[in-house]
Symmetry: C2
Subunit: 328 residues, 2 copies
């Protein structure tokens, strides 16, 4: 453990200044129905309303904006099958440069089109036979591009921490903050912010049952790799924590709760019918943990990050249909 | 035409003061994608996030709160198969009194349960053989209750006008305001506010093609009744304009646009996938009119009222499924 953390609260504050007028300041929703259900006051930070539909834009933009001008002019690169692809593409456009995004050739057409729609060049690969990390690094090196990683970079982490900062600016002190965990960038940034502002706050991560790599890693005291998780929460698929994110989370995260796919679908449906918002599975997982009683003795005032809403109607219908049938 | 309008802008301002801390101040959403599509700056007032999931709470509460204390103590009554039932039930609870709500016996169970959940007594009737207006009036008279009508009352209209007031407080002057029309209460209140604040603003109502009673009535210069409309927009089903609402709308509304059910479903899907919000059909109709090009030469800055989001996942899926199949 080092005495200088890789990301400080000042880094988050500087990221917030950089993002002002570029990222949305997303609304915080409350629901009396939800509060009654949980027996607590719950504040939902709605990053599904963020640009590109998820928090990822914060980190990608904060990282790209800090590149030296001559590097930025050459362009950036990223690899992602999900929200980070659109985030990097939009960050490049906002900064007046170009992006090359490496995406699996069988990525949903809507995501390929959305990424191309932000002006990025798409390079596809076969995810069953090719290693995206090696490909991405080779691509960036060949073309002289700066690679913006999806989570394991201090500037990305600091950017992701700005969502929690905005939340606290609206709510004041909270007893707990519940945050989805994929590669760990969002929770590392959130925990950095939370513990700097409110010493006693509990920071609770949420992983899918099938992808509990961060929980296991925290228990073991070192990074553990699990089999590629079979879960509907595709934003939480990384099978191992990032190196920098894990170092931060080991110090600042108090507990990890696990949720089943069924609990996530239940929360997505509740968000639709009662909160009137659309959440993708990963975006609903923190809410799901709370609703399913996976957070022990929930404290009085709880913040929840609803991290994204990128799901099309077709997929939403497929996921929720079984639970409709069983209720019929 | 009378020189003293039944609802003044002062009435709306007083309603806003009454609703402060009781109704939600709902967010105003913007979307760069939508702006590019329409070629204008669009501001969506999200009344789907209002208490009970629709704007109706504003008017019901504003009316109930102005009853004489001894009348209020005896309780209120309302008839509705939709959002006004829940609105009146919640208004009664908030004011510490009781509500009796007359609802069709075949109303969706979720709506019956939600209304009962606010503590109201439900009385059911057969909508094929019984006249709800006569029944409602008899019920109120028998039990000494004050009947809160769904739209045709100055206090209800003034309450509905507070949504537009909040919108203008955030956006400043707009060139046009697009508002769904059912019985005409929301648009009458909105137009009262809009024309008081911004003389040159165009106020445009939106009706389903099958339920164009207000459009026809404005053309004829008198209230016209159309056959009970077959439309998915069940919040816009009244076959004839209200008496008070029509008098106001005749003076203040500039145009009525019509939308098809298909255009409404398209807007609901856009709201889901791009705006990440849930809108019921009536709640999406103003957005639909704009998206379908039903508003002639759209002006530069446009306000849109998204009036409600009360639709369950099952019904949403039924409505959107055909358009998924055709896109497959």
């Amino acid at each position: 453990m080092t005495s200088t953390p890789p990301v400080s609260f000042d880094d988050v504050r500087e990221a917030a200044a950089r993002l002002r007028g570029v990222a949305h300041r997303t609304p915080v929703l409350t629901s009396r129905t939800l509060n009654a259900l949980i027996g607590a006051e719950v504040f939902i930070k709605c990053e599904n309303f963020q640009r590109i539909g998820a928090f990822k834009f914060r980190g990608a933009y904060n990282a790209a904006a800090q590149l030296p001008p001559e590097q930025l002019a050459k362009g950036i690169a990223a690899y992602s099958s999900g929200n980070h692809a659109q985030a990097a593409a939009l960050a490049a456009r906002e900064l007046g440069t170009t992006a090359v995004i490496l995406m699996p050739e069988d990525a949903p057409r809507s995501k390929l089109e959305a990424t191309a729609g932000y002006g990025a060049d798409i390079v596809t690969y076969d995810r069953y036979t090719q290693d995206r990390t090696a490909l991405g690094e080779a691509l960036a090196a060949d073309r002289g591009l700066a690679l913006i990683p999806p989570y394991d970079h201090p500037h990305v982490i600091a950017g992701q921490g700005t969502a929690a900062l905005e939340l606290f600016e609206e709510t004041g002190a909270l007893d707990a903050l519940v945050v989805p965990v994929g590669g760990g960038g969002l929770i590392a940034g959130s925990a950095t912010t939370a513990k700097a502002l409110h010493l006693g706050i509990q920071v609770i991560g949420v992983e899918p049952e099938a992808g509990d790599d961060t929980k296991r890693s925290l228990e073991c005291g070192e990074r553990v790799t699990v089999p590629v998780p079979r879960t509907i929460a595709d934003g939480q698929a990384p099978p191992t924590p990032g190196e920098i994110t894990f170092a931060i989370n080991q110090r600042l995260v108090d507990a990890i709760a696990l949720v089943s796919d069924e609990e996530v679908v239940h929360a997505m449906r509740f968000a639709f019918e009662r909160l009137k918002i659309v959440l993708e599975p990963s975006g609903a997982s923190a809410l799901a943990a709370l609703m399913a009683g996976r957070v022990d003795s929930p404290p009085r005032r709880i913040g929840v990050i609803a991290s994204g809403g990128n799901i099309d109607v077709r997929r939403f219908t497929e996921l929720v249909r079984p639970c409709l049938t069983s209720a019929a």
